[in-house]
């Protein structure tokens, strides 16, 4: 859901850019405190992987496609602060290099996808982890559900922006209904892709999954983790 220039007026776009910059600043500071040298390449890979999967649009309804957003996936793999930085870089590369997402709309897109959607999903992830058993399967389920919710949250954030500064003729109620409806479907795809990816990483290197750091690692994988 990369917003092009022109959908949202200049003052709302500028306001979003200010809030997004502040949010990314907080994320960078926190990331700097939490990262060690080992995890920097992992974060780079997470961002690169999200970029790659965002290119893979899948059909969701007639005439409509969806693609991974990746905020919750990033947060579960490398933590929400580092994850927000990863998604921000992906969005910046997409806008600056591939004309996907407007330049003046970059603040809106970062706010919706790297910050609000990611955090909304992360809250759901933590809530589910708190009630589910402390096991790898719980991490997978929680990731999938949280990722789907995160997409809907991002869609709602867009609807707020449209309500404040939308430059289309349609009413906010209409746009909100359509956005949430479509993105619930896309969220199912997001949830499945996120769950599969988290599951794959947990099966090979569970020590590299931030959202599973408190889950006991099975012995054979613990040996692999020391390499």
């Amino acid at each position: 859901m990369h917003i092009p220039d022109g959908f949202i007026d200049a003052k709302t776009s500028a306001g979003a850019a200010v809030v997004a910059a502040a949010g990314v600043g907080v994320a960078l500071r926190r990331a700097g405190q939490l990262l060690d040298d080992k995890r920097v390449p992992l974060a780079g890979l997470t961002a690169a992987f999200i970029f790659a999967v965002q290119m893979l649009n899948f059909p969701v309804a007639s005439g409509t496609s969806g693609h991974l957003l990746g905020g919750v996936l990033a947060a579960v793999l490398v933590g929400p602060a580092v994850g927000a930085v990863c998604v921000t870089v992906v969005l910046a590369v997409q806008s600056l290099l591939f004309a996907d997402g407007g330049l003046s709309a970059l603040g809106l897109n970062v706010l919706n996808m790297a910050l609000v959607g990611l955090l909304g999903g992360w809250v759901v992830f933590r809530a589910l982890r708190a009630v589910l058993p402390r096991a790898a399967g719980s991490v997978v389920v929680a990731s999938g559900v949280a990722a789907g919710v995160g997409v809907a949250v991002a869609a709602i954030a867009f609807s707020f922006e449209y309500a404040i500064g939308g430059q289309g003729g349609a009413s906010t109620a209409t746009v909100t209904g359509a956005m949430v409806g479509t993105h619930v479907l896309i969220g199912i795809g997001e949830g499945v892709i996120t769950a599969l990816t988290v599951s794959a990483v947990l099966a090979t290197r569970p020590d590299l999954v931030w959202g599973a750091r408190d889950v006991p690692v099975p012995a054979p994988l613990a040996t692999a983790a020391s390499s």
Partner: protein, 99 residues
């Protein structure tokens, strides 16, 4: 760790090289809503729409090469930015709860 990183990078590259040309070309959720509710025309042309990379290679590069470029640039920029912020503060151990 290195094996994992290399494997992950190969997966990302395989996805953009082999799968992206087969990705759906239907408009995504937001575009669809805009078309259906008559505000798609509100979109301004992108200032950088003339680059050969624009729209993931529609400008001339093709999606596979665009994908490889994007994966590489994203990897480098993310790693670079995080490495720089990492230098500014020493690492502290993460808390033991999933926070």
């Amino acid at each position: 760790m290195k094996r994992f990183l290399v494997a992950g990078l190969l997966v990302a590259l395989a996805l953009v090289v082999f799968v992206s040309p087969r990705a759906s070309s239907q408009p995504d959720g937001l575009e669809r809503v805009a078309i259906d509710h008559d505000f798609a025309d509100a979109a301004d042309d992108h200032a950088l729409a003339d680059l050969p990379t624009a729209d993931y290679g529609d400008g001339g590069m093709g999606p596979s090469w665009a994908g490889v470029l994007g994966v590489g640039v994203t990897l480098a920029v993310t790693g670079g930015v995080l490495w720089l912020v990492r230098l500014r503060r020493p690492a502290v151990s993460p808390p033991s709860s999933p926070g």
